[in-house]
Symmetry: C3
Subunit: 346 residues, 3 copies
């Protein structure tokens, strides 16, 4: 496809030779002749002169380059749309595979694909255009909204509700029992029935092998547009707000509620029963043990305000030296006091 | 059901109107007319005046409230039992689904349910009343004790033994190969056969997508009544003691042994070959690299005694300020010494 | 088997009675009569006098012991080879199980085993001697090299390539979509197609429930001989170098590249777009946010040089005391200055 045509499709300003023929999108270091590449992360601007790509997608703020460029206020989004020009996503054909086990009272929409060895429980509802890959299990009473995609080995447990255009990557577990046990006097535990459900709202995507537990009472909720990466744990009764983003291996303990637009870095953890305000940013590996006000940036384990944390961790390697200095100071002061006493007693 | 009847079933002291009709158990903020709610976590006592519930389960120590209450020394346990009154747990009917693949020499108890597409290996033994949900795989030689429940996508690998009344949530892997490799002189690794088994004793519950590895020699053991949350890693040859509790995303490296009644917070990690004494408490995100005496509380990464840690982390944000103060002190002392020298040389 | 025969097979120097009959390999504390045990970890040398084993594998550097011993420069490797004498690994018989769903245009090598309910997508290539356990799903276009083993509930997504002699433990997900979303002006996210693949080179082993994501462009690569433990997250476009070792629950964010022979401790995390040099060692629970030079040892979150970190964490518990000391010093200096002023004003 001609570069000028791509510029038109992805809504970019064309700079340089328009007739370059593009056959692929590729990373800046891997790209070769015929490839369109991109830079959206500042870190890679210095790689531009070395690229062998035939053209590049760039922000409007990047200085002129030697190869033809497609300029955009939002080069990352332009790149995302360029990718779609050359990519044919996997799309199983509609229909129910003969090996799928369909229990009674199931409602299925149009253009739905249900793969080999899927097991769909009694009373499930599956919306239009849903793709259920092979080896997905829906327990009884589950509903899946229109145009959602469930990859192989996804589980949705009894009575959980999945919205429209939701993507569940492989191995996601929705609605496993929450971790609820009442300690008894003899040191054993009494299992608390987890009678609640999980509600996944529209446009959510959940990464591979992530688990979202059901609660004793009430719903565990992942709100509209939230994105969860792989191996995340969402405890029973927790809520993730709209368009919030949780990186891989994050853990939310029970009943904790993240607001809207919250960003959480990888491996961060939250204690139970917390409220995290809208647009809070929680950096990677931090451990949040108190409520977090809206818009604040928190870091560390236990977490505190990020700007204070940045100074504290910068100071931390100097701590042994500081210990020595304070010992020295104590000795100096002893010497000063001793000298003064000697002087005074002269 | 009348409130007085519930009081009787869950063994609570009735305070107030006995004839209230209850139809559901609900959380304090979600509850409405006809609902029985509860407070067991101190954090929610302040929510009581605002609840719309018709009645509430409370500890004996909570002051009088306006709505009818069911009082108990153990309100959490009372709540657990109240839930069961209104809840019908999912219970597949007994029998072997025609699609289950049953290898030879399998022993199956009475009232056992084996779901669609289960694969039961040669020589497996399955006790009375076991529920094996669809898509469970038992490798050859596995035994499952009576009344255990294995959810979809549970794997039990060759020759592992599961006790009675064990619950394995979805995606649990029991008996995958331990991470054992002997480094060789040429920088590669030689795989060490993992010839041991995993033993899960009675009354254990294991959360979704948790993994418990088999060892090169000897058993990896989860002892009676222990509870493991989601995405936990139990390394090869490790042992978890009776009635110990591991929150989500905890990691135990190989050969580490937790005693009985140990509590481990989320995302905590343990180095290999450690001994952790009975009733030790290891707080969330800590990293234990040494043996832990019984009954101690450990925190931090690397972990040390919790009371010391609490003071240290409270002091940590003050570290940059401390650095500046020490620099100031050094200058002060230089000035004092200079002044003294000047005085002395006068 | 006679001990002398074992010595010969595993290439050890025989010390003591040669005719002892050995029937099993066992751990030092569990071993009894007829067992051959071993010590490779220094921590267990003190257990030798108490063992009930009939013989022991030991390093050449360990002092003489009372029972017959097999001496080796590399006792861990000798132990690994001894285990194989008495162990018959699980090996399903060759053939395609009648319940396997085989799509069109699949190429299968010789002596390959494909288990019950496996689903093999269109155009897949499966090499000689491959073992595909029950309930494995290969999406279309996947290739699996010779002698690889895929355990139950392994997923390999569309077009990913697995090398020779690769072992994927249960629940491994290869090629799920990377976590790529372009933020839009209205606060929502635009999903970026993940058009790349995952390449797993020869002799790699990956632990249970580990996830390796595909990237928007280019390959995510696990290089020859690397070993990944359970519940590890490899983000999109990341690379793990040859013979590198990642312990359980490690997380690599997108585009980060680990060199060859890198060792990473459990629960460590890496930010995105980093370069970690060959033979670097990253200790458990650390959080690496910058490039790491070859051969360095890094610790802490955020991580810095290990020897500095060791001193810093040793000093950390003393921080509250240090704060108090500095307050005391400030008072002392105030007193000294006050006294001097008094003296000077006399």
């Amino acid at each position: 496809m001609k570069l000028s045509k791509i510029a038109q499709i992805i809504d970019c300003r064309m700079v340089g030779e328009e007739d370059v023929e593009i056959t692929r999108i590729a990373g800046i270091d891997e790209a070769g002749p015929g490839d369109l590449t991109f830079v959206s992360n500042r870190k890679y601007v210095s790689h531009i002169p070395r690229t062998r790509a035939s053209a590049i997608i760039l922000g409007e703020d990047i200085p002129p380059v030697k190869i033809p460029s497609l300029r955009s206020e939002d080069p990352y989004l332009a790149f995302a749309r360029a990718l779609e020009i050359f990519f044919t996503p996997l799309r199983p054909s509609p229909g129910v595979h003969p090996t799928a086990v369909m229990d009674k009272d199931i409602t299925i929409g149009e253009n739905t694909s249900i793969g080999a060895y899927a097991v769909i429980g009694e009373g499930c509802t599956i919306g239009d255009g849903v793709v259920i890959h092979p080896h997905v299990v829906l327990y009884p009473g589950v509903s899946i909204g229109a145009a959602s995609v469930l990859h192989s080995f996804v589980i949705v447990r009894e009575s959980c509700r999945i919205g429209n255009r939701v993507i569940l990557q492989n191995g996601v577990v929705i609605g496993s029992d929450g971790f609820g046990f009442a300690p008894t006097k003899d040191g054993t535990f009494y299992k608390i029935c987890q009678t609640g459900c999980v509600l996944i709202e529209d446009d959510v995507e959940i990464g591979a092998n992530t688990t979202v537990d059901r609660a004793a009472v009430g719903d565990t909720i992942i709100r509209r547009g939230a994105k969860l990466d792989n191996l995340v744990q969402v405890g029973h009764g927790a809520q993730v707000g709209e368009h919030s983003v949780l990186a891989a291996q994050v853990g939310l303990a029970g009943s904790t509620r993240l607001g809207n637009g919250v960003w959480v870095g990888g491996q961060a953890g939250f204690a139970g029963h917390l409220e995290v305000g809208d647009k809070a940013i929680i950096t990677a590996q931090s451990g949040t043990s108190h409520d977090v006000p809206s818009g604040t940036v928190m870091s560390g384990s236990p977490a505190f305000e990020n700007t204070v944390w940045l100074r504290a961790v910068a100071a931390f390697p100097k701590l042994p030296n500081l210990l020595r200095k304070v010992r020295d100071l104590e000795r100096e002061i002893e010497r000063i006091k001793a000298a003064r006493n000697t002087n005074n007693s002269k």
